[in-house]
Each structure stands twice: as structure tokens, then as C-alpha cells.
Subunit: 153 residues, 2 copies
DNA sequence: GAAATTATGAAGCCTTGGCTACAATTGCAA
DNA sequence: TTGCAATTGTAGCCAAGGCTTCATAATTTC
């Protein structure tokens, strides 16, 4: 990087990184919710607001607001006093998020992070893992831990 | 139900993980600012508000608000119309953050992430890396890439 | 079928982290 | 010294994501 004192030319890349990190944070919430809703539907056949709130550790109006946002963004739908449902886009996002979460946890474990810490940290890390990085993780895991590859038990 | 403060059945590991990820996010801003202020002081001998704002890609009142928060938390000090300075605590944090950033980038590169992507993703990831995970990263790097020994980038 | 319970929804407040607009201070230069 | 541009501070607005409280709709139970 250039160490010059030029007010303009010394910033852009850095600014880019910061703002990217900031916007990733805004996507994180949507991702957590879609994944959780997908989870709940798998487990219980439906995703009730109260269950969503409970699992996320927030009050139910907070979850309701988030679901409203999911609907705005075309990721979910819901009918009053019925459950919350994911649209195709929402389901796709949930699956992507779940897959990525697994890869991140596996990667962390592969480099020696204790499983418990890996699970905790992955929750925060996963939202900042780009496609490029994710692909690199997958390649690394494939080469390093072939015992885990492909054949899901 | 009793009113005990027990970590009761209502707060399973999952909730813990989510709320931990959420609180990490609030620390991230402080960390970015302290590191940047430390950078600026090294580079220019002082950290002016306008430079902080420029480097972070935010408007100056946003930076001013953040600096006010740093002061509240005892990480920085400043006198009106003078620069911003770090307290001992702030400097310590900056150094910790910088070291961690390097480790995260190195780890990403070591598992095959292209350097550019590593830099970008690290900006978001680093704030979610616990001590445990950081230590694991360091150990991994030590064992895996001795060729990088001591090498300051 | 009415009451109790549970789930949702709606309103209103707080904090954070953005922003713009404008006021005040500094500092440099004419 | 004065004047003006740059810098900093202040005020006020916005959206997001928390919260509590209260109202309403659904469901369950008697």
C-alpha cells in the first residue's frame, strides 16, 4: 500500500474494505433468520414467530420486525396467525447459509480450533466469508481431510 | 418457575452463540477506530478527525460520534480542535487488533485464499475471532508455514 | 360457548451508526 | 489584521434492531 500523504489516493481500497464489512453485517441478520426459519420448518413443520424469537434469544416483536423485513426483501411470506414461510429465494439463501456454516466450522476445526469455539466463532465469521474464500476453504478441506469428503454418512 | 439467575433451559447454546455474535459487532467499531487512529499517528504524527473519517469512508460527524464513544470508554482523548489521541488502553487495543488482523490474513492465505480476498474478508472476520481461535491460528501457522518465519510484511 | 391461554400485531421508546446542514474555531495568507 | 477555507463541533434526521406494553386474534379447555 502507498504510504504517501495524499488525501485521496491513499484511501479507496481501505474504504472499500470497511464499507464492505459494514454491509455484510446488514446481511447477517437476514441470513440468520432465513436459516433458522428453514430449520424450524424442517423440525416442526412450521415456523412460528414465537419459536423464532425464542431460538434467536430476542423478544417476539423483534422477530416480527425482522420477518417483516424478510417479507419486504422477498425472502419470506406469512399469513396472520399462521406460520412464516420461505420463498424460493429464502429457501435458497437458507441452504447456502447452512452449507457455508458447515464449511466454516469444518475449516476452523481443520486448522486446530476446538469444536466448541469453532461453532461459536463461525456464527460471527460466516457472514463475512466471500465466495472466493469459501471456495478456497472447500478446496483446502478436500485436500486436507479426504475422510470427510463427499460421502455424507 | 423460580426467579433464580440460573442459565436455565431457556438459554440454550444456540441463543448464546447468536447473542455473542451480536455483541461482537458492537466491539468491532471501537476496534477499527483505535487501530486506525494508531495508524494515523504513526504515519502522520497525529490523527485528525477528517482523516479518520476519510479513511473509514464515513462523514466526519460519524467519526466524531465514534471518537466521543472512544473517549467515553476510556480508549481515546482529544481536545477541541486538536487531534485525537489514544490512551494506554486504546494503544493496547490497537496493537492487539493489528496483530490479530495479520494472523487472520495469514491464516486465510495459508489455507489458500487469494491475498486480496483475504484482506477484504479479514476486515469482517477478525472481529469474531476469539482468543481460543486466534491461538489455534497461530499454532497452525507456526507448524504449517515456517518459511514465513519472522517475516514482517 | 365462554374463559383462559397463547400467538400476533401495533405502538412507542432506546441506542447505534449512518447522514446533512449549519455554526464555530483555527490557521494560513494576503 | 483581517478574511476565508478547512476543520471540528453540534443539532437534528433516518433506518435498523433491540425492548416493553397493550390490544387483538386464534386456539384450547372446560
Amino acid at each position: 500500500m502507498s504510504d504517501k500523504n495524499e488525501p485521496e489516493s491513499d484511501a479507496p481500497a481501505e474504504v472499500e474494505r470497511f464499507s464492505q464489512a459494514r454491509s455484510a453485517q446488514s446481511k447477517a441478520l437476514l441470513e440468520d433468520y432465513t436459516e433458522l426459519i428453514d430449520d424450524l420448518i424442517r423440525e416442526h413443520g412450521e415456523a412460528r414467530l414465537i419459536d423464532i424469537a425464542r431460538r434467536l434469544g430476542v423478544a417476539h416483536p423483534t422477530a416480527a420486525k425482522a420477518v417483516a423485513r424478510l417479507k419486504r426483501e422477498g425472502l419470506a411470506s406469512s399469513r396472520p396467525y399462521r406460520g412464516v414461510f420461505l420463498t424460493e429465494a429464502g429457501t435458497a439463501m437458507a441452504q447456502r447459509v447452512r452449507a457455508r456454516h458447515r464449511v466454516v466450522v469444518d475449516l476452523l476445526v481443520a486448522v486446530g480450533v476446538p469444536h466448541e469455539a469453532a461453532e461459536i466463532d463461525a456464527e460471527g465469521i460466516e457472514h463475512h466469508v466471500s465466495e472466493t474464500t469459501l471456495t478456497a476453504f472447500e478446496l483446502f478441506l478436500k485436500g486436507r481431510k479426504p475422510r470427510r469428503s463427499g460421502g455424507k454418512a
